[in-house]
């Protein structure tokens, strides 16, 4: 290949890329939504969503009405619990749980204080609305801590061991330190994972749609009779969409996440953007692959949901991969998001360097190359 050939090749690529940009810029509604998704949507997700047990509405039925029962109930405090008053009957409790105005009820049996004083074991009954299993678990776990701590205090006082002072006993004090996000600030997690979701949605949909639109309108025939190679037809779509999505990512980082939520960027931002570009490229390959299967946009739309929804849900951000069945966990290895999520959180929150992320980058490169190559192969077979 001579220098001139190379120049022509580059020129063709540039012209096609410009064409893609122009086409995108002319769809005003789409542009508005792209900006909306990268700013307002991320802001809403980061500011509004928290996954913690927060002021769980608690109703009590105190049949003892003693100093001891009040003392124990008084320990169910915000931020986890919020005492919402007393229940007149068991039926009212059930009713409150049914209509969702209470999340849990606590029942203190009669003679609670007397049983405690005489050293007989007594019980605090708790009914939890476990329709959300995570919250049900957290509520019972916090309640167990409260009741256990209270019981130990009372028990030790009565037995006269250690003067009720736990320090003089051979107990283990387990100090828990949370790394990378010491206060479990949900805004950081939600903001970043929402950003990754949006990047993924666009990275799949935009190139796939751009490709299929040519097929549907028949303009692909024009491109095919031109001296362009299939690569020169497919690649500019990916370049232009990658550029747009990278711009959006920069917008949401510098306009929303950094100033709005104090997200600490521990690692290198250039590295983050470079790898984001690589991720978009890889994911775009998946979209192009879908585009080679579909004949019209409606089909590509359904196919992308089929690719997108599992990617987003099973990426490992929401559901721990450890808890998935083995076959599904192995399936996540073909999802680029699986690698990118660790990369993004690793750079932004953990401050990892390119060297430490090498296996993940390698995985993504391999996957991207394979998918893109396969898409190209199918495209050639279809039109070549």
């Amino acid at each position: 290949m001579t220098r001139l050939d190379l120049q022509v090749w580059g020129r063709r690529l540039a012209v096609m890329t410009k064409k893609e940009f122009l086409q995108l810029m002319r769809d005003a509604v789409l542009l508005v939504f792209i900006v909306y998704a990268f700013t307002a949507d991320i802001y809403l997700a980061a500011s509004g969503v928290t996954l913690q047990l927060n002021h769980a509405a608690t109703m009590v039925r105190d049949l003892d009405r003693s100093a001891a029962s009040r003392e124990l109930l008084g320990r169910f405090q915000p931020p986890y619990f919020r005492l919402d008053g007393e229940l007149a009957s068991d039926a009212e409790g059930l009713h409150r749980l049914d209509d969702g105005s209470a999340m849990l009820t606590l029942d203190i049996p009669p003679q609670f204080e007397r049983d405690l004083a005489t050293g007989r074991q007594t019980a605090l009954q708790m009914q939890v609305d476990a329709t959300n299993s995570v919250l049900g678990f957290l509520a019972s776990s916090y309640a167990a801590q409260i009741v256990g701590g209270y019981g130990l205090e009372v028990g030790l006082k009565q037995l006269g061991v250690g003067g009720g002072n736990a320090d003089a006993l051979p107990v283990v004090d387990n100090r828990i330190r949370v790394w990378y996000n010491p206060n479990q600030n949900d805004a950081w997690f939600m903001g970043i994972s929402e950003l990754l979701n949006i990047i993924t949605v666009f990275a799949i949909l935009l190139p796939a749609a751009a490709m299929v639109r040519e097929k549907e309108r028949g303009t692909v025939e024009q491109l095919l009779v031109s001296p362009l190679t299939p690569f020169q037809i497919m690649f500019p779509k990916v370049i232009s969409m990658t550029a747009v999505i990278l711009l959006g990512t920069a917008l949401s980082l510098f306009a929303v996440l950094l100033p709005g939520f104090g997200l600490p960027v521990k690692g290198s931002l250039p590295l983050f953007f470079a790898l984001t570009g690589l991720y978009i490229f890889t994911t775009a390959g998946l979209g192009l692959f879908a585009a080679t299967i579909a004949r019209n946009l409606a089909q590509v739309g359904m196919l992308t949901i089929l690719i997108l929804a599992p990617m987003l849900f099973l990426s490992g951000a929401w559901t721990p991969p450890e808890a998935m069945p083995v076959w599904l966990r192995q399936l996540t290895f073909v999802s680029p998001l699986h690698y990118y999520i660790d990369i993004a959180f690793g750079i932004l929150l953990k401050g990892q360097t390119a060297g430490e992320l090498l296996p993940l980058i390698g995985g993504m490169l391999l996957l991207g190359g394979a998918v893109f190559g396969f898409g190209l192969y199918r495209f050639r077979r279809q039109f070549g």
Binding site: V29, Q121, L138, V171, V172, R175, V178, W179
Partner: protein, 384 residues
């Protein structure tokens, strides 16, 4: 409104859908596949947390203590690590998500009857998992301490260990998980998956169906025909509502038969309420299709207004009361939350119209508003 013309439009649309075999099969395959993938993969149970131990003490006590974690089904023991530097690397690379560090003299202090300290490090990248992990660690630590004290007491006072155990734990916490007795997450999840899937797929089908006519220009046939706006919209949307209604049934069968989720409510009420919901989400698709001109924009806008809200603001992953004020406001503005109440009520709580009528009413009103707005904004004489 002329019924014959409505039927004609609906029939034409139906033929068009059926002839596009890939699209037609995807319309049924996508919801079912999503249900299967999520049903198996979307487990929020935090289990098998990869975990390591740094033991500087190497005593019998430290091994016993570590064993309480190693033995637990919540932790997946990855082995002993030499020191904290090595541990830092493992945590950064997400090879382990939690670790305990047992200092020197741990066993000595305990044997001397004094308290000892242990440090737990938790990866806080995913805050909700970090919280649950903290819950497990605290619970395991507390039970270890109770055991130690009980044994100490038993020896000191010469009582059986069982009696001593009861004495240090005078109050038991009896938890009853309502609606989901075994806290199985699939029970609470599957009904909500119905909500998510029916939120995503009907608008996609509808928006694509309507915008396709706009983009390909075949809508000019409608513009120039005697069909009125209302007739066109009714006829156009009817097949999509029908497909979605079949999907409700298919998803319901998957939930009850495959995932064995109990269905305690009335079937007819459930189907009727679901139909209203599907009409509602179809209305969202209609709104989108009126707003946008291209199918690309239709897909992106639908993805953004349905997928993300269906996941974040519907109570499927995060319960509504745990959302922040702005997110709660969004949740109340969207139909997903109301239908979540209905599915959860029908499947797990066994409540019917008596308890759920406000939600059904809101959904119906929602559908009415969407269709009215869609109707008024759809013009047979395009402005430009």
């Amino acid at each position: 409104m002329n019924v014959q013309r409505v039927v004609a439009v609906a029939y034409k649309e139906w033929r068009e859908i059926v002839r596009d075999r890939l699209f037609f099969s995807l319309a049924f395959v996508v919801p079912a596949v999503l249900m299967l993938l999520f049903g198996y993969g979307l487990s929020l149970d935090v289990e098998n947390i990869p975990f390591a131990v740094v033991d500087y003490d190497h005593s019998a006590q430290s091994r016993d203590y570590a064993y309480r974690f190693i033995d637990s089904r919540y932790f997946d023991f990855k082995g002993y690590v030499r020191d904290e530097r090595e541990l830092g690397g493992l945590l950064a690379q997400s090879r382990v998500r939690a670790a305990i560090v047992i200092p020197e003299h741990f066993g000595q202090r305990l044997q001397a009857g004094r308290g000892a300290q242990v440090q737990t490090l938790v990866d806080g990248t995913f805050p909700f998992r970090a919280l649950t992990t903290k819950g497990y660690v605290t619970a395991i630590n507390a039970s270890a301490n109770q055991e130690t004290i009980a044994q100490l007491l038993a020896r000191a006072k010469g009582v059986p260990v069982q009696t001593a155990r009861e004495a240090v734990q005078p109050v038991r916490l009896e938890v009853r998980y309502l609606y989901n007795q075994s806290v199985k997450s699939i029970w609470s999840l599957a009904p909500k998956l119905l909500m998510v899937i029916l939120m995503i797929s009907p608008p996609f089908l509808t928006a694509l169906g309507v915008v396709r006519e706009k983009e390909s220009g075949s809508i000019f046939n409608i513009y120039s025909s005697t069909v009125t706006r209302g007739e066109f919209l009714c006829g156009k949307l009817a097949p999509y509502v029908a497909i979605s209604a079949l999907n409700i049934l298919a998803l319901w069968l998957l939930a009850t038969l495959l995932f064995a989720v109990p269905f305690k409510g009335g079937f007819l009420f459930f189907m009727a309420a679901s139909l209203i919901y599907v009409i509602c989400t179809t209305g969202i698709g209609l709104m989108v299709s009126v707003l946008v001109r291209t199918q690309v924009a239709a897909m992106i806008v639908t993805a953004i207004v349905t997928v993300i809200p269906a996941v974040l603001y519907s109570g499927v992953l995060i319960p509504i009361p745990s959302l922040g004020p702005s997110a709660q406001a969004i949740a109340h503005l969207l139909p997903a939350m109301y239908y979540t109440n209905i599915v959860v009520g029908c499947f797990l709580k066994g409540v019917g119209l008596a308890a759920l009528w406000p939600d059904v009413l809101i959904l119906a009103a929602y559908a009415a508003v969407l269709f009215t707005v869609g109707f008024t904004m759809f013009h047979k004489r395009p402005v430009s």
